[in-house]
Symmetry: C2
Subunit: 164 residues, 2 copies
């Protein structure tokens, strides 16, 4: 049986930026990401979950070096999309568990989340694909998170990567 | 220059389930996904963005056939995690634009979002990876979304897939 998780990596050079309380209406995401791209800002991951009362948040991660510019762009968008606030956290990290057919295998996500929970590491944001589960955590917890997932999935040295 | 988007696919046999207003504290995601996995439910994508006042939402998608069971599991978790509500929407679809190095290329996400915005298609949730941008939209908009992205990125017939 192919192992569920074949590697875990952390990236401690990312920042979280969020546009809070934007109308859940067509065009809002398009406007934000068009302006980010016009500024040449590379977006790492995008996180948008449930809306409430026709409002939603759009969060994304960028490289540390782009955090100031990304915040400027987000703040400039606020009035144009009638959004409520912008939040920025430059003390985060991305922890990614890589595998194959992960989400088709019940239990892999649970295993990743349990590895972090058991160490008291809070999962701030979650993004997934068929081959990767990414958790945004506090930067000072990232290395511990790496070890926890490494242990939980019995990985060897080369499979736990600090991607900074 | 390698094209940014090489295929677009829709899946109209998925349902959205969300756990609303759960404590943003270690162990909550682990509990939910452990219980889903114990029930043998395959999770497609997981969506968790910004927390507010130490509360967050955790949304995920499952195959239609697992929607009832997933809702049961989520509701059973509510008291154990001190969550506020469960939401379910069985009339959604996933629209995925596939490429390579997508998020390292500013403008690709904007292009996908603009393609949908231009047709008045609301993006309910967003999940990304380096090779895929997935948008959850209303099921009755999915085919139009497929055509819009197909046109926007000049894809040929074989690159626009109905994955149902
Ligand atoms: C919130 C944002 O994603 C909005 N729903 C849009 O479609 O642009
Ligand atoms: C909301 C949920 O993800 C919580 N932060 C946890 O770590 O489990």
């Amino acid at each position: 049986v192919k192992p569920a998780v074949t590697a875990v990596a952390i990236n401690r050079h990312i920042a979280k930026v969020g546009l809070v309380g934007v109308p859940d209406a067509p065009g809002v995401a398009a406007l934000l990401f068009s302006r980010l791209s016009q500024r040449g800002i590379n977006v790492d991951l995008v996180f948008q979950a449930l809306s409430h009362d026709h409002l939603n948040d759009i969060a994304f991660t960028v490289e540390d070096k782009d955090a100031a510019a990304a915040e400027e762009v987000a703040r400039a968008c606020l009035p144009d999309v009638n959004g409520r606030d912008v939040v920025v956290d430059r003390s985060v990290a991305k922890v990614s568990a890589v595998g194959s057919g992960m989400l088709g295998r019940p239990g892999v996500a649970a295993g990743v989340f349990q590895a972090l929970a058991g160490a008291g590491i809070n999962i701030q944001m979650i993004g997934t694909s068929e081959v990767k589960i990414s958790c945004i955590v506090a930067r000072d917890k990232a290395e511990h998170a790496l070890r926890r997932i490494h242990q939980a999935f019995l990985l060897d040295e080369g499979q736990a990567v600090i991607e900074d």
